[in-house]
């Protein structure tokens, strides 16, 4: 039956399930991010530089790290590549900071929450946009590096395969933390710049002071305040590298706890948003 114009016809079509609705948010969000020049540049440069520097570390290992055992523990070296920290922070700031803040600014949350999705669906979809992009820096280089190392004949394939599995674990842990923390910061403001600044503040405001305090006082407990140091402690344990500073179980608990807390806080923030303006 036509409403008025011949171009509009009422058509009741069966609606797809919630997973498809969330999928639509994810694909549209990824497409939007990958069309933004800043996102493309940061993602491209971040993934390329991290991968290349990790491969170079492997290639030049005999010169750079004389005496380093060429076994599974060697892959802690690329996993501790400082470029990962820098580019994960940069990507979180450039790509992730606006994911919720922009919706708050444009008040588009109203459009989302008046649709048949839950607040949890929305937060999950935003995490699924940012997570894969961060993993291009936190996981992909660590996966490519053992493959290249095995192809070059530096390591047997069984060691390389084990390194790939462990690298995925470590990368997902670190990327998951930054995804959750960035979304939380993004949910606190309507300005993506503020959220981006918050990401940098979180990284460098905790990592460097923690290192300085730990070294000045000789008390390594300060290092638990740094997500990067916690990640390194877990990575050391995963790859079997010697533990030097902080223990991995509390480090893992802090990383997982902070990730869960950030995710729950983001969800709680979204639950409090007004959909119908007063």
């Amino acid at each position: 039956m036509s409403i008025s114009l011949p171009t509009y016809t009422r058509r009741e079509t069966p609606l797809l399930g919630r997973s498809k609705r969330v999928g639509a948010i994810i694909t549209t969000g990824l497409r939007r991010e990958l069309r933004r020049p800043a996102s493309i540049v940061v993602t491209g440069i971040g993934a390329a530089l991290t991968t290349i520097s990790s491969i170079l570390i492997v290639y030049l290992a005999p010169f750079l790290f004389p005496g380093q055992l060429l076994d599974l523990s060697f892959f802690y070296v690329p996993a501790s590549n400082g470029a990962i920290l820098f580019f994960v922070t940069l990507m979180s700031a450039v790509v992730g900071s606006g994911l919720i803040a922009d919706d708050l600014h444009s008040m588009a949350l109203t459009l989302y929450f008046s649709r048949p999705i839950t607040h949890g669906d929305y937060v999950l979809a935003k995490a699924a946009i940012l997570g894969p992009l961060i993993s291009l820096v936190s996981v992909l280089p660590l996966v490519i590096t053992p493959i290249v190392a095995a192809l070059l004949g530096f390591f047997p394939w069984d060691v390389a395969l084990a390194a790939i599995g462990l690298s995925i674990l470590a990368g997902v842990l670190f990327g998951g933390f930054y995804t959750a923390a960035t979304l939380f910061l993004s949910s606190l403001t309507t300005r993506r710049a503020y959220a981006g600044a918050g990401v940098f503040a979180m990284t460098f405001g905790l990592t460097f002071p923690a290192q300085i305090l730990a070294s000045a006082t000789g008390n390594s407990v300060f290092l638990y305040a740094s997500a990067w140091e916690n990640y390194l402690a877990v990575a050391r344990a995963l790859f079997g590298a010697p533990q030097t500073t902080i223990d991995w179980p509390p480090a893992l608990a802090i990383l997982l706890g902070a990730t869960a807390l950030a995710a729950l806080s983001t969800y709680a923030r979204m639950r409090t948003r007004e959909v119908v303006a007063t």
Binding site: T7, R10, L15, Y112
Partner: protein, 305 residues
């Protein structure tokens, strides 16, 4: 019934935003009016399944209001405030919202073109929303509410910010939707002439309560046993004189309402001559929605005080 609530209450701390609201709203076009703080917004949020009631029950188009997702599958909501994603194109946003509502990609795109053409955003549909005028943005907001062809439309102040021509176009569109079979409209607006021109039924809220509800025509025509008299002159004195003559008179903000009885017309003209007032209208009570609204709010305020 489109919406049925029974003793529905929603409190925020000490504030009872919706207070024991029991309404039975029939299918069709329904106006939801009330002063600021009347509970309209909270009521809409409850209808959309975005708030859980503190107590009481409610059903919207056959679903319990606490069901959330099944309710929102059948509702198209057009918010009052700006909510569009500025960097998206009109057609991109509407099809995107169709997909978030559960339409598949192709259907969503096809429906987006249909509804944008219906609302009159045609050539501009490929432009970014940031470049749209207020009128076009309102139309895109309407289109996104229509894209999944919901059974119930909730329009919140749909003509806000529109010039007279844009307002007229928007009202024509809303009227067309309201006249479509099996499609229902809840229109929340402060612009009472808009509500009057579209809705058949009305619910008036104040202080979280329903203070009037029913068919608009019946409410505006008032009680059959009352005579409406508009006078130019001292209305209070006019009313007093009639009371002294034994009539039951209510002096309102715009005129007098007098209980009909034999000889009332003669008494009215006699009183007018005596105090030098001019009778401008005498007959059945026909009020505008604005008059009815003001009268009910005033009565409710007096009752509350």
């Amino acid at each position: 019934m489109l919406v049925e609530t029974n003793d529905l209450t929603k409190t925020f701390g000490e504030v009872r935003a919706v207070d024991g609201l029991s309404v039975a709203i029939p299918e069709g076009a329904i106006g939801l009016v009330g002063p600021n703080g009347a509970g309209k917004t909270t009521f809409l949020r409850l209808l959309l399944g975005l708030l859980r009631p503190t107590s009481g029950r409610g059903r919207v188009i056959g679903h319990d209001i606490s069901d959330g997702i099944p309710v929102r599958e059948k509702i198209g909501y057009m918010p009052e405030h700006d909510c569009l994603i500025p960097e998206m194109t009109g057609v991109g946003l509407v099809s995107y919202m169709g997909r978030v509502s559960g339409l598949d990609k192709n259907t969503a795109m096809s429906r987006a073109h249909d509804v944008l053409q219906f609302v009159g955003v045609e050539e501009e549909r490929y432009r970014k929303i940031a470049e749209y005028s207020t009128g076009m943005k309102q139309k895109v907001k309407l289109a996104q509410a229509m894209v999944h062809d919901p059974a119930l439309y909730v329009f919140d102040e749909p003509t806000t910010g529109l010039d007279p021509r844009g307002r007229s176009e928007m009202l024509d569109l809303l009227r067309t939707i309201a006249k479509t079979s099996e499609r229902n409209v809840i229109l929340s607006s402060h612009l009472l002439p808009d509500v009057e021109s579209i809705c058949k039924h009305i619910v008036i809220l104040d202080g979280g309560h329903q203070i009037a509800a029913g068919e608009l025509k019946a409410l505006l025509s008032g009680a059959g046993d009352r005579l409406r008299v508009d006078v130019r002159g001292d209305r209070a004195a006019f009313g007093q004189r009639l009371r002294e003559a034994g009539h039951e008179v209510e002096v309102g903000t715009t005129g007098l309402r007098i209980r009909r009885r034999a000889g009332i017309e003669a008494d009215v003209f006699r009183t007018a001559r005596a105090i030098g007032a001019e009778v401008r209208y005498m007959g059945s009570e026909i009020r505008s929605l604005e008059e009815l609204f003001l009268e009910l709010i005033e009565r409710n305020t007096r009752g509350g005080a």
